[in-house]
Symmetry: C2
Subunit: 353 residues, 2 copies
């Protein structure tokens, strides 16, 4: 017998089972192995490598597993494989309803493919975002960045480590899911033109927002095409409050129609203009972006360019998972369509009576 170097199971440490688990919870593959009269590695194979063991043994093991109501220990599994069946989603601001649908889309997809979603927030700060991303990197198989605020380079660096999918922004060399604003914007601008507007104001979003620039470019292009004049205004922050604060500039701009970087701004702006006695859309038309939850609660309901945010979340998660499973390798950008949702806040301007 080769005794020297085999401490093996013999000592068996009659010592206290230190973890003193609650009693039932945790069966291990070793327990199953004992019960089924096979080796633990066979159990492992039966449970994860379909077809690797005979169907007889398979059944034996499955029964034993069921009897002990076994559940794999994800950590034990993750340690040697490096796979966690988990992915991360980082959003700029959890309270911003824009992200609700994205979160939901990602969560649903994750769960349906047996993945777990880990959520983190960057509070609109590039630094926080990067920290959160690094933190998550250690525990997830992949990462989705929704409207990231950090540099392209940082994103690429992350993408080198683990699969990354970006939503709402285009980053060279990294798979992205981006609403193509052009369709929605041109519908909107055409509608404005048809209603006789001549001068369109665009209220921009945060300077780091890639999407804000795209929207502004889209508005410019569409206005040029329709021979309308486009003026750009800035906002302090992309919230209802920020929208209120832009009311002054909007009135000063002389525009009869306004598009805003997002719905929140539009809602704030509308509230403030109405409070000042203006009538929407008779005095001024307002068009938002995204069609967030609540956009139709306003009076009049908000006309807006809808981004299919839920779809974005789903698509991003799907791309990520496909990638993890070795299918879709392409790193390009996936475009999703936007469309104009015509509600009450836009229309023909009434001639001053």
């Amino acid at each position: 017998m080769t005794e020297p170097q085999t401490p093996d199971t013999a000592p068996s440490t009659g010592s206290v089972k230190k973890h003193g688990r609650d009693g039932k919870s945790n069966a291990t593959i070793y327990d199953i192995a004992k019960l089924a009269g096979v080796n633990a590695s066979t159990v492992s194979r039966a449970l994860s490598k379909p077809g690797r063991v005979s169907s007889k043994t398979q059944k034996l093991i499955e029964d034993a597993a069921a009897q002990l109501n076994y559940q794999v220990n994800p950590f034990a599994r993750a340690l040697p494989t490096g796979k966690t069946n988990t992915f991360g989603l980082i959003v700029a601001d959890i309270t911003n309803p824009t992200f609700f649908d994205i979160i939901r889309g990602a969560e649903t997809t994750a769960t349906s493919r047996d993945y777990t979603l880990v959520l983190a927030e960057s509070a609109e700060s590039p630094a926080t975002e990067l920290t959160a991303a690094r933190r998550l990197m250690a525990t997830v198989d992949g990462l989705i960045l929704a409207s990231p605020r950090m540099d392209d380079d940082n994103i690429r660096a992350l993408a080198q480590d683990k699969p990354v999918v970006v939503i709402n922004r285009e980053v060279e060399g990294v798979p992205c899911v981006v609403p193509d604003v052009n369709k929605g914007i041109s519908e909107a601008i055409r509608s404005m033109a048809a209603n006789g507007h001549q001068r369109i104001a665009f209220v921009a979003g945060p300077p780091q927002s890639w999407m804000s620039e795209r929207r502004w470019e889209g508005v410019q292009a569409a206005c040029e095409w329709s021979r309308l004049e486009a003026v750009r205004l800035e906002s302090s922050k992309p919230t209802v409050d920020g929208g209120r604060q832009t009311a002054r500039d909007v009135r000063a701009s002389g525009a009869t129609a306004v598009m805003t970087y997002n719905d929140l701004l539009a809602i704030g702006l509308m509230q403030e203009l109405q409070a000042a006695g203006m009538v929407v859309p008779d005095d001024i038309s307002i068009i938002g972006f995204d069609d967030i939850f609540g956009a139709d609660f306003t009076t009049p309901p908000l006309t807006t360019v809808r981004s299919p945010l839920g779809e974005c979340g789903e698509a991003a998660a799907t791309r990520l998972l496909d990638f993890l499973h070795g299918s879709g390798e392409q790193a390009g950008t996936l475009s999703v369509e936007t469309e104009l949702v015509l509600r009450g806040s836009s229309g023909r301007i009434l001639p001053a009576k």
Copy 2:
């Protein structure tokens, strides 16, 4: 020298490093140990047991760790300790804005205490909820259930396994965080009474909702106290759509003021009543519950009983983490205050002209 049983580092397996990591990413404590000239276990202690190693060695190790930009492998750590620095949050419906603030509160608290938040959704189904909970249980240190739909017994069973905190429901023997509806409700009912209303309708939420019952009881009690009549109506689902569908019943009820189980119902109800030509609040007063995002977008803005949802999320996370760190052991219910937010949708009824 004691050679017999020390295979130790010698073999060093010149074989391919199978994981072939990307290059820089992953230093292990063994790398640090080698660099610092100490044993790996010393490194482990230096990094997690403050004061266990001499400050000289400590420094040595920290420098080496910094140089290799070491990051602990959470799985390797979780395996022997069972601690994951992660907790789960299960909500009934991710798209329901009621939960946005809860999620945000929990996420913020988690991050600030160096925990990671894992999010799951039950889609309002007790079965899905239980499955999700079980799934999460394996990977988290604790669980927060927001407005759970499953049985008390199931919740208690989970709580036996790992720390659980419940939001928006009271479960005997499990720590809970629950808005105390009474203050807000009595303020609301008193305000109704002061405005001359006599008959109040309450539109209830889902039958499994514990909170819906509490609110109905609160309304009944407050009405009794103010000598008003309370009638109860049912809703099909606690959404804007569900609210629209109750409009019929509301009108039939003869009530001049309505409280709804939540804001969504109130908003839908208001939309439908307005569409039918009624004026809020001149013809009927509407009061919602929760003060969700968007409740003030409506015209008139919605009067509502605010539940401090963000606080609930925070408080639940805090309780959970305190518990995990051995401080707060008490299993009672933590009440948070509700208050009436008086906006435009409630007021004195105008006598039919």
